[in-house]
Amino acid sequence: MSNERRGMSEGFEEVEHTADLAIRAYGRDMRELFANAAHGMFALMAEPSQEPACAREVSLEALDYEGLLVDWLNELIYLHEVEGETYSQFTIETLSPTKLKAHVIGGPTRHKTRAIKAATFHDLAIEETPSGLVATIVFDV
């Protein structure tokens, strides 16, 4: 299977970037794209938590979908670091170009595999393709 096909079936894939890390996330719609981007980021950061044991509400405002996507991932980085939790279920409850409300479920972090400093705007564009939405997100590590 090509990388892209595999990425699409899993919802995300890791892509090359000289200094940092990048993922390409896919989604049939915007909500799925946001959820898959979060799955892809946590796949880089930590082993999945075993038991869903905690839930967090995330509420964000930004100028557009790209801004919301960056803020969404950065909010999850923040929660992961200060709460010591790793999330595995992402329910996007409300999503407009400027507002996001989500419910995330996870558990205490078992093993961190990498620190991600932040999700960046670098080269970020949410693109519509015949098979759905695609976004490449570069992380500073």
Binding site: E14, V15, E16, H17, T18, A19, D20, L21, A62, L63, E66, G67, V70, D71, N74, I77, Y78, E81, V82, T109, K112, T113, R114, A115, K117, A118, T120, F121, H122, D123, L124, V138, D140, V141
Partner: protein, 483 residues
């Protein structure tokens, strides 16, 4: 895509992309590189990122990239952006997420040959005594008041708490306290992330490295810096941890609106900025300076821990260890400095992202005991090759806004490195070369493999040959702990 034919060579190892190359450029962009480094830079988007920096409002003369240039986000790593304080901008993306990531070098009275036989023990003790690794917290928990003091006083706070000496402050860029920091500009989220991370190394490319001064190129300057051949020295490389990352995240978010408000057009959203002389710009500077101070306090505490470990391990072996600070430099920062522009002294915001200040002789910001020769420029290389101590020059003041390179610079992606290199094998290979390495994870170690970096000798040769900084000493690694 940019190609070599779009550049003109203005002097040996200096290439310029003229302002006419792209209509949105306000000034030319310059790259310091030899042929091979230039070819490498042309392979990814580093040069395009450099050109993007030349479009920012208020940039003067030219924007620059050092020979360790590689692709980042926003500006390239190795980038230098000079912008007028009066009409120019300040950009969080042009400082980076690890505000005041930097390096310090401790000298000693110890000979490398005295410690080589016990390097395993030293590395293990450092690994135990210096908290490192992904998201690791330390044993310093900052109260609300302490946090505000750290943000506004930096290293001075750490020394007041018994972490190090006043002499350390004298030998730290900005004396470890960047003026203009205001704790109120740092979000509560950033403070929360920083609460228990002071005195921790972090992960990624951060390290503590025991090295040996292998060669001296400038005896006179080496003596002034207290360096001699065969000497054991220690490098500490870390930054502002989660607090700095959050400050950058917060202001990249907040300044999105400022870009619209002030009608700034950007080729890359990661270059988001605000006029330096605006409420938004002033707030970012106050927060960034706070994060910079946190980073200096962090390296001060880390260096204190290194001293404690060395005191413990070397007690009975070496009496007068004399682990004192040569210097501490930052390589991710924005600072206000004055340079002549069109014949007039002009205040500029100098963004250095993966670039080191390299002030020449006579500058008042260089410590008194080094002022006659210039500032020590510390260039950590990869863990299997070498690092350098250079000295800043008058030429740097004239040509590069007092700036030199900051390291070897990556050449291989982290993904490729971990596919090609096994952490265990790498540790073994380095051990055969006499270098003891311990890391938080095999994967992390593989990503930081020497093969993932450019040739540091080549990078340093460019800055030395152009006269931007002069070689003083080459230091080879003996023992390394990686986060």
């Amino acid at each position: 895509m940019v190609s070599k034919k779009d550049m003109k060579q203005v002097e040996e190892y200096v290439y310029e992309i003229p302002q006419s190359f792209r209509p949105d450029m306000r000034v030319p962009a310059r790259l310091y590189a030899d042929e091979e480094l230039l070819e490498a830079a042309l392979k990814d988007r580093s040069i395009e990122q450099l050109i993007n920096t030349a479009t920012l409002p208020g940039v003067v003369k030219y924007t620059l990239a050092m020979p360790d240039i590689h692709q980042g986000y926003g500006p390239p790593i190795g980038g230098v952006i000079p912008s007028k304080t009066s009409t120019g901008v300040i950009s969080p993306g042009a400082v980076g997420y690890d505000v005041n990531c930097g390096v310090r070098l401790l000298r000693s009275n110890i000979l490398a040959e005295e410690v080589r036989p016990i390097m395993d023990e030293i590395v293990n003790a450092l690994f135990q005594g210096v908290p490192s690794g992904v998201g690791r917290s330390g044993d310093v928990r900052l109260s609300h008041r302490d946090m505000n003091d750290v943000l506004e006083k930096g290293s001075a706070w750490a020394v007041s708490q018994g972490y190090g000496t006043k002499d350390d402050l004298e030998h730290t860029e900005e004396r470890g306290t960047l003026a203009g920091a205001e704790a109120r500009a740092v979000s509560s989220k950033a403070k929360k992330r920083g609460q228990d991370q002071l005195g921790t190394l972090g992960s990624g490319n951060h390290f503590v490295e025991v090295g040996e001064v292998e060669a001296i190129y400038d005896q006179e300057v080496a003596e002034v810096f207290g360096l001699f051949e065969g000497q054991m020295v220690v490098w500490v490389h870390s930054g502002s941890r989660g607090l700095g990352h959050q400050v950058c995240t917060d202001y990249v978010h907040d300044l999105q609106q400022a870009v619209t408000k002030y009608g700034i057009e950007l080729p890359d959203r990661e270059l988001v900025c605000a006029p330096f002389d605006s409420p938004e710009g002033r707030d970012y500077f106050a927060a960034m300076a706070g994060a910079a101070n946190y980073a200096w306090a962090n390296r001060q505490v880390l260096a204190h821990r290194v001293r404690l470990v060395m005191d413990d391990v070397l007690a009975g072996l070496v009496k007068d260890r004399g682990l004192t600070l040569v210097y501490d430099v930052t390589h991710n920062i924005a600072k206000v400095e004055e340079y002549p522009i069109d014949g007039k002294p002009t205040k500029l915001v100098i963004h250095r992202k993966g670039a080191t200040r390299a002030f020449g002789p006579g500058m008042k910001d260089v410590p008194a005991d080094y002022r006659e020769v210039g500032q020590p420029v510390l260039i950590p290389g990869d863990m299997g090759t070498a690092s350098y101590v250079l000295v800043g020059t008058a030429k740097a003041m004239e040509k590069t806004f007092g700036t030199s390179c900051h390291g070897a610079g990556r050449v291989m992606s982290r993904r490729a490195a971990k596919e090609k290199i096994q952490g265990q094998e790498l540790q073994q290979e380095l051990a055969e070369k006499g270098i003891v390495v311990r890391g938080g994870s095999w994967k992390g170690l593989a990503e930081e493999a020497p093969a993932a970096y450019k040739d540091v000798d080549r990078v340093v040769n460019v800055v030395h040959s152009t006269g931007v900084a002069r070689k003083v000493a080459r230091v080879v690694p003996l023992g390394v702990i990686k986060g």
